[in-house]
């Protein structure tokens, strides 16, 4: 004869309750995890976007500064600045330039040829 459920002991009914709780936690955890993951993806996307914008800004700034440096180096600007500062600069005259003549290198052709002839086997030379 089947037992009346009201007479079942508490210990026996605790198992299914735990299972149900576990299942609920699993479902809730999965849902929270899913939302957290989506939220994280969104946040990371925003961070990527911000970094991209920063990179673009920095690249533009870099180009701008590069341009400013180039402008300062322009001969026109240097000339203007030298005149403003009244430095009394003038082009060097050719007689003020000391030119050093480099010694001519020794003729390598004969030596190389001799060396090649010396190291080559006689058979190769005859071919």
């Amino acid at each position: 004869m089947a037992k009346n459920r009201k007479n079942q002991s508490a210990a026996i009914r605790f198992g299914p309750a735990l299972k149900a709780l576990g299942l609920c936690l699993l479902i809730a955890g999965s849902a929270v995890g899913y939302v957290w993951q989506k939220s994280r993806i969104y946040q990371l996307g925003q961070q990527i976007r911000q970094r991209e914008m920063r990179l673009t800004r920095l690249q533009n700034n870099n180009q701008k500064l590069d341009g400013q440096l180039s402008i300062l180096r322009l001969p026109v600007m240097l000339d203007r600045r030298a005149r403003e500062l009244n430095l009394g600069l003038a082009p060097a005259q050719p007689n003020q330039v000391l030119r050093l003549t480099e010694p001519a290198p020794p003729p390598p052709a004969d030596r190389t040829l001799t060396h090649q002839l010396a190291v080559r086997p006689a058979t190769e030379m005859t071919q």
Binding site: I41, Y42, L44, G45, Q46, I48, R49, N60, N61, Q63, K64, G67, S70, I71, R73, L74, P75, V76, M77, D79, P91, A92, Q93, P94, N95, V97, R99
Partner: protein, 629 residues
């Protein structure tokens, strides 16, 4: 009985539920199947966004990497009149100075206007462009100004809605267009303006404004400089923030190539400053200067005054924007004698020591009387070059013959475009022999009856400085990408050898005497370098006749004469305070040449104490080596 009632209720409930589900099911089929196409497009339109990325226009650099033209990204500042509400006056007051606009004009622009949208509905405009090409710094100031915008009211007394609209005004009413605009900047101002040219902004597709070259290198190499636009197809949330993970397409813009010219900014500056001094001294209509390397045809400087600032091309008259070096035609005058003398020597028609009677300055030929600027008797061929005798040159031309003269003029590149990569180059005028008059054979050798550009003339002189080889003018050295990788390299190109090496040496010998004390350009002689060159003074033609007191004066020379590094041309149109080429242009040549020689550290070929002894000008019967051909 009770059970039956319960069953009825259950069935009724089931029927109602079934009906509801059937309705929902139909709606589902309607949305997902029947109206799928239409709704899918709508949904995509709500979330999908397309952003265009403008490519950065390439830089133009000189041969040493100096920046001659560059591009800066700038903002287009816009407004949403709806969000401004009724605070136009206050907003206009704070923004007008930053945007450099008139306050009342700005006020008018901020007023909301009604218009019709694509569907024909009446809507208020929500996008007004306030100012183009606003720098980053100014845009940051505008943002700060708007963030701290004081509406002139006690905000605590405002309602919640009013406070929200004020917040909207501060953060969203003034915004920058998401697509950056570009500003073309020429750091050197008017430096090399005729070579660089200028640009204009055109409305392109997809709201990406295009910068288009309108003149000079900017125009000729527009496609290489422009690059290609990039794009990004992505999705946004309700607040129009991009959802990076849902990007569909992301193609980076390909920036334009950098153009490296053969110009040297320092030499260009030297030429322009010296020309400016000469312009002040002789007040000609215009003055031009060209510096070339004769061995390669590289153009190191190409200047025309008056010039213009390409940063603001509209601020200068149209005349100043014309590159006279390549587009203006002139009778070359005596500088053209190099052609007839070279041709005659090359053909063996004359020798340097052959003598010609220069008729004491009056020579009647074919019903016309030709004149010299001074009366000369017997002159050698070399003396004719030294003294620039018109009558002597005419007689050499007559001895050379029409056909040969025409052929040599063609071979030196006259009557045809040089191929310089600049727009608007003129061909010049060189009539075929069949169209010549009887006097042409005497006139053309002295540089009349022919029209040339200044560039053609210096190229002919460069050919003499380059053993008789005519070179194609070279203005572009290479194209490179943003990382400095060479995409295309240009090399010097020989066109043809016009005269032989040996003839060339004879011509150079003759040209050296031009800057001697007996020559027409003693003022062009340099202390440490041997100069070879030729002067020219041509009367201008007005209404079909030669004007009495209007001249085009020129000097074209190269140095060191026996191993030329540079060839320089200076031409003045209607100079005052003197008009002879050697008198007005010779000293300018000398100044430019000395500064260039110092800058380029060209080894001198003579000491200041040993000036080259000039050859005898008058026939003395001494034989010189004759031309081999």
């Amino acid at each position: 009985m009770t059970k039956r009632l319960q069953w009825k209720r259950v069935l009724l409930l089931l029927a109602l539920l079934g009906l509801a589900f059937a309705g929902l099911g139909y709606r589902l089929v309607d949305l997902q199947v029947l109206r799928h196409e239409e709704l899918a497009v709508k949904a995509q339109q709500n979330t999908q966004r397309e952003f265009w990325q403008p490519p950065r226009r390439g830089n133009i650099l000189d041969a040493r990497g100096n920046l001659l033209a560059t591009s800066l990204f700038v903002k287009t500042v816009c407004a949403d009149p709806v969000l401004i509400g009724n605070r136009q006056a206050a907003v206009a007051h704070v923004l007008a100075p930053l945007l450099q606009l008139d306050e009342s004009d700005l006020y008018q622009r901020l007023l909301p206007r009604l218009g019709k949208n694509q569907k024909g509905e009446i809507v208020t405009n929500r996008y007004v462009v306030l100012q183009h090409k606003v720098s980053d710094e100014t845009w940051q100031k505008i943002q700060m100004t708007m963030t701290n915008f004081a509406a002139g009211v006690d905000e605590r007394k405002l309602s919640r809605t009013e406070r929200a609209s004020l917040r909207d005004l501060r953060s969203n009413a003034i915004f920058a267009d998401p697509v950056d605009d570009q500003l073309r900047v020429y750091p050197g101002g008017s430096l090399a303006s005729h070579v660089l040219g200028f640009t204009a902004t055109e409305a392109g597709t997809n709201r990406v404004a295009r910068i288009v070259g309108r003149d000079g290198i900017e125009m000729v190499l527009n496609s290489a400089l422009s690059g290609a636009a990039g794009w990004r197809v992505t999705r946004t949330d309700r607040q129009k923030r991009e959802l990076v993970t849902l990007r569909d397409e992301d193609v980076q813009a390909r920036d334009g190539l950098n153009v490296v010219l053969t110009l040297d900014a320092a030499i260009q500056h030297i030429v322009e400053t010296n020309l400016a001094d000469a312009l002040q001294k002789h007040t000609p209509i215009s003055i031009t200067g060209i510096v070339m390397r004769p061995r390669t045809g590289e153009i190191l400087a190409l200047a025309t005054l008056p010039n213009y600032d390409p940063n603001n091309p509209g601020g200068s008259p149209l005349d100043a924007r014309r590159d006279r070096v390549i587009s203006d035609l002139m009778e070359p005058g005596s500088t053209f004698k190099i052609v007839v003398v070279s041709g005659a020597l090359n053909e063996g028609a004359v020798r340097l020591t052959d003598t010609f009677d220069c008729e004491q300055g009056h020579f009647a030929f074919a019903g016309r009387v030709l004149h010299d600027h001074e009366p000369y008797g017997l002159l050698t061929t070399e003396g004719i070059v030294t003294k620039s005798s018109n009558i002597g040159a005419a007689k050499i031309g007559i001895r050379l013959g029409q056909d040969h003269l025409y052929d040599y003029a063609c071979d030196f590149g006259f009557g045809q475009r040089t191929g310089i990569p600049l727009p608007g180059e003129a061909r010049g005028i060189l009539y075929p022999v069949k169209d010549w008059s009887k006097v042409s054979i005497a006139q053309i050798p002295m540089g009349h009856g022919i029209a040339v550009t200044r560039l053609q003339m210096i190229l002919a002189m460069c050919a003499l400085a380059n053993d008789g080889w005519l070179m194609r003018p070279m203005l572009i050295n290479r194209l490179e990408d943003q990382n400095g990788n060479v995409v295309r390299q240009y090399y010097p190109q020989r066109v043809r050898q016009v005269i032989s090496d040996s003839t060339d040496k004879l011509v150079v010998d003759a040209l050296k005497t031009v800057v001697s004390p007996e020559g027409t350009a003693a003022g062009a002689a340099m202390k440490y370098y041997t100069v070879a060159g030729k002067t020219g003074t041509a009367q201008k033609v007005e209404n079909g006749t030669y004007a009495e007191h209007k001249f085009v004066s020129s000097f074209i020379g190269f140095f060191p004469a026996d191993d030329p590094e540079l060839c320089i041309s200076v031409v003045m149109d209607e100079p005052k305070e003197g008009y002879y080429g050697g008198q007005v242009c010779g000293p300018v040549f000398k100044e430019i040449a000395e500064r260039c020689a110092s800058y380029l550290n060209i080894p001198p070929d003579k000491t200041s104490e040993s000036p080259g002894a000039p050859a005898p000008l008058v026939a003395a019967g001494t034989a010189r080596p004759a031309s081999t051909q």
